[in-house]
């Protein structure tokens, strides 16, 4: 009993110090990586924007109540940016300033953008996480195992890639029904083929190197070799691709919602705001500009970060 207790403590202590060591090391690596990235001003600005948007998404409820941005107050419809009005909300009249104006139902545009950011961020990251896991596993199998696995997985990928992404997403949403989760699935599955290709290509590049042979030689199993020896060597292209994909996932979410296949009004989402605003483009162009510019800035920021990461992580481009 006491012996086993001692072993457990020893193992725990070993884990602890190992973890501390890993932390210190990654700290050092991060400092070097940050020096590289911070030379790229655009990437830094984009990072600030993205972090700001993420903060807004997380604290959306503190800025605007969800009920407030989804309930109509028709007497305040189509206000210009900066105008105020009296809103009857929760059995009370409140004086409210519409910083970015109001839409045709008298809802606060900025408030809807803030809550729409939440949807966009969640879809952006969740879709990337899902497609990264699925594509990573399939790509690893295809690249590492080769042979029949490779052929089957890659031909399936080719078939998926031959279908236009938007059609695929429409088909999935149409088949599964209109919901947040199905939108997520549709976007994630359209990004899986890209991941499969990247992971497979990178693995093939690494797997024939001598250190992998050496790992076989010390008696390491396939699982260990892929997870511990190959995957850490191919993180850079995956990180870059994922960052770019967050941007395009947000773009896709907005596009599908715009087409009425994603998040439906009155739930606030950038794409459906844009869609609703189309009718009023002549009287209230700000209704269109607000979500449009938000989407533009967000997607652009993710793409610029992706480019910055590519430069910072690729040793060949280091100056």
């Amino acid at each position: 009993m006491s012996a086993s207790a001692t072993t457990t403590t020893a193992v725990a202590a070993g884990r602890g110090s190992n973890f501390a060591r890993a932390l210190r090391r990654s700290g050092r690596n991060f400092a070097q990586f940050w020096r590289q990235l911070s030379r790229n001003k655009l990437a830094v600005i984009s990072l600030v924007i993205v972090v700001g948007f993420a903060g807004v998404a997380i604290f959306a409820d503190l800025l605007y109540e969800y009920d407030f941005v989804t309930s109509n107050s028709l007497e305040n419809a189509l206000l210009k940016p900066g105008e105020s009005g009296t809103v009857y909300y929760h059995d009370k009249d409140i004086e409210h300033t519409f910083i970015l104006g109001s839409d045709n139902y008298g809802r606060d545009i900025l408030g809807r953008l803030v809550h729409g950011a939440r949807v966009s961020m969640i879809i952006g990251f969740a879709a990337v996480a899902i497609s990264l896991c699925a594509g990573g596993i399939l790509g690893s199998i295809a690249g590492y195992k080769g042979g029949l696995f490779d052929t089957l997985i890659m031909r399936a990928t080719d078939i998926l890639l031959s279908i236009p992404t938007i059609l695929l997403a429409i088909a999935i949403v149409a088949a599964l029904g209109n919901s947040f989760f199905n939108l997520l699935i549709a976007i994630a599955s359209s990004m899986i083929p890209g991941y499969i290709r990247i992971v497979r290509a990178s693995i093939i590049q690494v797997k024939d190197q001598e250190f992998v042979e050496a790992a076989h030689c010390i008696g390491a199993g396939d699982f260990r070799i892929v997870l511990r020896h190959i995957l850490p060597n191919i993180t850079s292209p995956i990180i870059v691709q994922s960052t770019l994909n967050v941007g395009s996932a947000i773009n896709w979410a907005a596009s599908l919602s715009f087409l009425g296949l994603g998040i439906l009004p009155p739930k606030p989402e950038w794409g459906n705001m844009l869609s609703e605003a189309r009718e009023f483009i002549q009287y209230a162009p700000h209704l269109l500009f607000a979500p449009g510019l938000t989407i533009l800035i967000t997607v652009l920021a993710y793409n610029l970060i992706g480019d910055g990461l590519r430069d910072a992580l690729d040793p060949k481009l280091k100056r």
């Binding site: 072993t7 020893a10 193992v11 202590a13 070993g14 884990r15 110090s17 190992n18 060591r21 090391r25 042979g147 190197q209 001598e210 250190f211 042979e213 050496a214 790992a215 076989h216 030689c217 010390i218 008696g219 390491a220 199993g221 511990r228 020896h229 850490p232 060597n233």
Partner: protein, 335 residues
């Protein structure tokens, strides 16, 4: 003494679309425990393929062991399951690779890589494995606190010493050293070899020492095997082979070395090239380049001739071998 490694009639082929490369052709050999066997031969003779075969690591699907058996410490390597193989690799049989620059994983610290091997084969906590890794680095002359550094922070010689530490971490019974010093410059070579010699002596490890250099064999090995076109053409103790090389190919290898005691203007290279392994000649593989070639050489593949432990695959010695065999048989009868 019992043989730790016993290879008989091993044939390894590599298959490409049209051609079959016959890398190892009916190779038989035995290795005594605790001995250092030098394996010499030119590029493409099948030395590395032989080493990989011993670990059953010939790369599929192109490479395939088509025939023969390999027994390590009595166990049939070719019949082992995946798990048994994994347990054997690294623990019982370890390999030192030719190029230390590429044999280490660039994204893991050297300490982690050694600790991983140790933990794979021994029941140790992470902390103990790390300590053992540090101890191993100390034995090869690298300060323990450099265990947390990455391969690119080491020089070539130090990397090779890390690779040696990695190979010896689990006290293997057999070490396959595949040209361990080829990628290093001469002074570092000497250091690395001294170190290897010391560790091998201390642990009683058997070593298959693959090299191009006859000088290294003379210094480091107990026995020598000369390999040509996937077979061992001459085998003997260092004294036997270096005293009197029998096979024309081994003689040629010695002839192409500069001799300090004799004034020579030009070295004598062996004329010609190794035969194309996709189309090996019918008779002796060395026949087209052999200065002593006879009629029989082109027609018939020579068998091993045993001259008192000094074995040679050459028709020149067939008669002498028969006489010697008869004599020893007679000797045995007399006893």
């Amino acid at each position: 003494m019992e043989n730790i490694l016993e290879i008989s009639d091993l044939r390894v082929h590599y298959f490409s679309n049209r051609k079959t490369v016959r890398a190892v052709n009916g190779l038989s050999m035995g290795m005594e425990a605790g001995k250092v066997l030098g394996l010499v031969g030119e590029t493409g003779a099948g030395k590395t393929t032989l080493a990989l075969s011993i670990l059953n690591m010939v790369r599929a699907p192109q490479g395939k062991i088509v025939e023969g058996s390999i027994r390590f410490a009595g166990a049939d390597v070719l019949a082992m399951g995946k798990r048994e193989l994994r347990d054997m690799r690294g623990k019982d049989v370890a390999m030192i690779f030719q190029d230390p620059m590429t044999a280490l994983n660039p994204v893991l610290t050297v300490g982690e890589q050694i600790a991983e091997t140790v933990r794979k084969h021994e029941e140790l906590s992470i902390e103990d494995a790390w300590k053992k890794a540090q101890a191993m680095l100390e034995t090869v002359g690298i300060p323990a606190d450099r265990a947390k550094e990455y391969p690119h922070q080491f020089s070539g010689g130090m990397k090779q010493r890390v690779v040696i530490a990695l190979a010896l971490a689990c006290n293997p019974k057999l070490l396959l050293a595949d040209e361990p010093t080829t990628a290093l410059d001469v002074t570092i070579q000497a250091q690395v070899l001294d170190l290897m010699r010391k560790l091998i002596r201390e642990n009683g490890t058997s070593v298959l020492f693959i090299t191009h250099s006859l000088g290294l064999v003379a210094e480091n090995c107990d026995e020598v095997a000369t390999m040509y076109s996937g077979e061992i053409v001459e085998y003997g103790t260092v004294d036997q082979v270096f005293g009197k090389a029998l096979h024309p190919y081994t003689q040629g290898l010695f002839g192409s070395l500069p001799d300090l005691s004799a004034a020579t203007d030009r070295l004598k290279p062996i004329p010609g090239l190794m035969p194309d392994p996709t189309a090996l000649p019918k008779g002796c593989f060395f026949c087209p380049r052999c200065p002593h070639a006879m009629d029989i050489c082109a027609k018939e593949h020579p068998a091993d001739v045993d001259l008192g432990g000094h074995r040679v695959k050459c028709h020149l010695y067939a008669a002498a071998g028969a006489a010697k065999g008869a004599a020893s048989a007679a000797g045995r009868r007399a006893e």
